[in-house]
């Protein structure tokens, strides 16, 4: 029953970034990544968590089921709603960190569910009006249409599977809502835990064998726009403190500043693009579609188009 109330949403970093903001988080964003190598990771720091997502083709992972670590300090929720899998994975990261501003509502939620067993936690997520409404706001167009049909449902029977990785109290945890509980992957360092995560992900991929695994990687990071702005401010401060004769230093800092300025600009453009995409996603296109059809009909073009379309289908 609850299943019907959650729509599928696109697995898109722009969607997820705005989703988090919608739930009350500040200073975070999602970024799609194509490599877990050090250079990439360095560029993205600070990274709060990684999400590995792939199409769940119901193939058995060739590896033995890892042991579960029922650490009470780890927030772990069993996945109850299929369509909420992305949102759930994101929450698994957000609610396990104490260095993110998650906003009042999520803080309350975390406190409220702290002592719940994992399945109850999962249920609590599915019943959260805040989470559900923000999530569903990214599903498309018209409420009439959403109620009736989910264009993704049934089209392929594969389901997307999201697994979160994040360091908690000095150990790297794998948080898979479809598992019984969190998996402790060993001690890690806050600075280079992504290497270990990389290994764990590789192992997983090998376990699935040669089957075509469509997957993506995303990183939950600090909001880059904020980050770049802060860094530029820092540099500005430094520049001010320089003496007039520190020409070399000044040049160096100015170069850094330009480079940051450039990155900031790119990031802002990307966010503007994401925002526009989200606006379009949330927009009800039915009036537009209807009016386009009406205009074609008024020009006596609609009927011939229908005929032509039918012929092509034969």
């Amino acid at each position: 029953m609850a299943e019907e109330m959650w729509c599928t949403i696109e697995s898109d970093p722009g969607v997820f970034t705005e989703l988090m903001a919608g739930m009350g988080c500040q200073g975070v964003q999602m970024e799609e990544i194509y490599s877990l190598d050090e250079a990439t990771m360095e560029e993205l720091k600070p990274i709060y968590g990684l999400i590995f997502l792939f199409k769940w083709q119901n193939k058995k992972n060739g590896q033995p089921t890892p042991e579960v670590d029922d650490n009470p300090n780890v927030f772990f929720a069993n996945q109850v709603i299929n369509n909420a899998c992305a949102t759930q994975a994101i929450l698994q990261i957000l609610l396990n960190r104490d260095d993110i501003e998650i906003g009042e509502e999520l803080r309350n939620f975390k406190e409220f569910t702290a002592d719940f067993p994992s399945d109850m936690k999962g249920l609590a997520i599915s019943n959260s009006e805040l989470v559900r409404t923000v999530h569903n706001s990214f599903a498309r167009s018209d409420p009439f249409v959403n109620e009736i049909v989910d264009p993704n449902a049934g089209k392929d029977q594969d389901v997307y599977h999201f697994i979160a990785y994040t360091p908690i109290h000095g150990a790297l945890y794998e948080l898979d809502g479809l598992s019984r509980g969190p998996v402790n992957l060993g001690a890690c360092d806050d600075n280079n835990w992504t290497n270990q995560a990389n290994e764990a992900i590789q192992r997983r991929m090998q376990g699935y064998g040669d089957s075509e695994l469509h997957f993506s990687l995303m990183a939950l990071t600090k909001d880059k726009v904020e980050s770049y702005q802060e860094q530029i401010e820092e540099l500005d401060g430094l520049l001010l403190s320089l003496g007039e004769d520190a020409v070399n230093e000044r040049n160096q800092l100015n170069n850094q500043r330009s480079s940051l300025q450039h990155k900031l600009h790119m990031e802002q453009e990307k966010r503007a693009r994401w925002h526009r995409e989200n606006v379009l996603r949330k927009h009800n296109f039915i009036p537009m579609i209807y009016n386009l059809l009406k205009k074609l009909a008024e020009k006596d073009q609609l009927v011939p188009l229908v005929t032509k379309a039918k012929e092509k289908k034969q």
Partner: protein, 370 residues
């Protein structure tokens, strides 16, 4: 495998009962034998026109290759009492005369048109026919049924039902019913090249056989699943009323078999293509009428309209709406748009309703101006 025990087993691009005519001096006389004129793609991949006697196991007596647009099949108007047609070759002035032997002359026109269609574009037509997709066969089957009463006793609902019923068993055995014998009172006598009409003595009486006999066996496939559901009398009842009932039943069943395998329903994206939208949206005034439907915060410009319509989100919206329309549950939405809710059971019916609404409005506006 044919649908009717009496009908021939082959299937052709077009076929109908026709007799030949023989040219004697300047007179054209009918060959009284019962025959069949049909066209097929030969082994040489070319279009052939054949005539053969309607005896069992007869081989074609005439076999002509017709190249694209090389010939024409037209009615001989001078012969006012017969249904005489001439196949005239444009390149060689060769002519062949035939007279229709189907009881029902209603189909003459369609058949002749088909012949000419094939002649004008053999390739397209040969390929299309050879596909025998289920929707075309389904339509033919329906047509057959609807024409059934006006045709030959051979084609009876009992036959059809029996056949469907025996799909999984052996064919029902039914006596081969001969065509009614026909009489020729006097042959149609026409002068082959006479401009003035010549008196014609009489019209040959045609034998009674369906105009388009046995549809290809494949339509039996989609029809077959219905067979178990058909309450068929084991022995054909010659009672006319009962056979009409059976016919109706059958019609209903077949009408409910959506030829889904053959034809796919159209979606909104098939109609709102970039081809159809580009000219529309190149008009700035047209775009301006769409400003109210742009997302909030969008720039109110023609370019913005175009970009929005090109966006993946718009395409997705088309897909969602098409899928929702196909479920038939969008009645309330249609009402909101001022359309008849019952038109919401497919994309096609939705589009038709929109078209009708626009037409109605045009009429209303025109009337208001008076």
């Amino acid at each position: 495998m044919s649908l009717f025990p009496t009908a021939p087993t082959e299937t052709h691009l077009v076929e109908f009962n026709a007799g030949k005519c023989v040219v004697e001096d300047s007179w054209i006389k009918p060959d009284t034998r019962k025959g069949k004129l049909y066209m097929d793609q030969g082994d040489d991949q070319l279009l052939h026109l054949y005539w053969k006697e309607r005896k069992n196991n007869s081989t074609p007596e005439d076999d002509m290759i017709i190249f694209s647009e090389e010939a024409e099949f037209t009615k001989v108007e001078e012969c006012t009492t017969g249904r005489v047609y001439v196949l005239k070759f444009k390149t060689s002035n060769e002519t062949h005369f035939y007279w229709m032997q189907n009881k029902n002359e209603d189909n003459d026109h369609a058949l002749v048109e088909r012949v000419n269609e094939l002649i004008s574009d053999p390739e397209t037509n040969m390929n299309i026919s050879s596909e025998l997709d289920e929707s075309a066969s389904h339509d033919e089957l329906m047509r057959l049924l609807n024409d059934a009463e006006s045709q030959d006793p051979n084609l009876t609902p009992e036959n059809l039902l029996q056949f469907l019923n025996s799909m999984n068993n052996n064919m029902g055995t039914q006596d081969d019913e001969d065509d009614d014998s026909f009489e020729v009172n006097t042959p149609p006598a026409t002068r082959s090249s006479a401009p003035a009409p010549r008196p014609v003595a009489a019209t040959p009486v045609t034998s009674a056989t369906p105009a388009t006999p046995a549809t290809p066996a494949t339509p039996a496939a989609p029809a077959a699943p219905a067979a178990p559901a058909v309450p068929v009398a084991e022995t054909p009842n010659t009672n006319q009323q009962q056979s009409n009932e059976q016919l109706d039943q059958l019609r209903q069943i077949l009408a409910n078999i959506q030829p889904a395998e053959g034809s796919k329903p159209i979606s909104l994206s098939d109609v709102l293509t970039s081809q159809s939208l580009t000219p529309l949206l190149n008009d700035p005034e047209m775009c301006a009428t769409l400003f109210p439907f742009l997302p909030e915060g969008s720039e109110r410009s023609a370019e913005e309209v175009r970009q929005v319509v090109r966006s993946p989100q718009f395409s997705q919206a088309l897909q969602s709406l098409s899928a929702a329309l196909a479920t038939g549950q969008l009645g309330p939405l249609l009402s909101q748009l001022g359309l008849d809710p019952s038109a919401g059971n497919s994309v096609e019916s939705f589009l038709i309703a929109v078209g009708e609404q626009a037409k109605q409005k045009k009429n209303d506006d025109a009337m208001d101006e008076d």
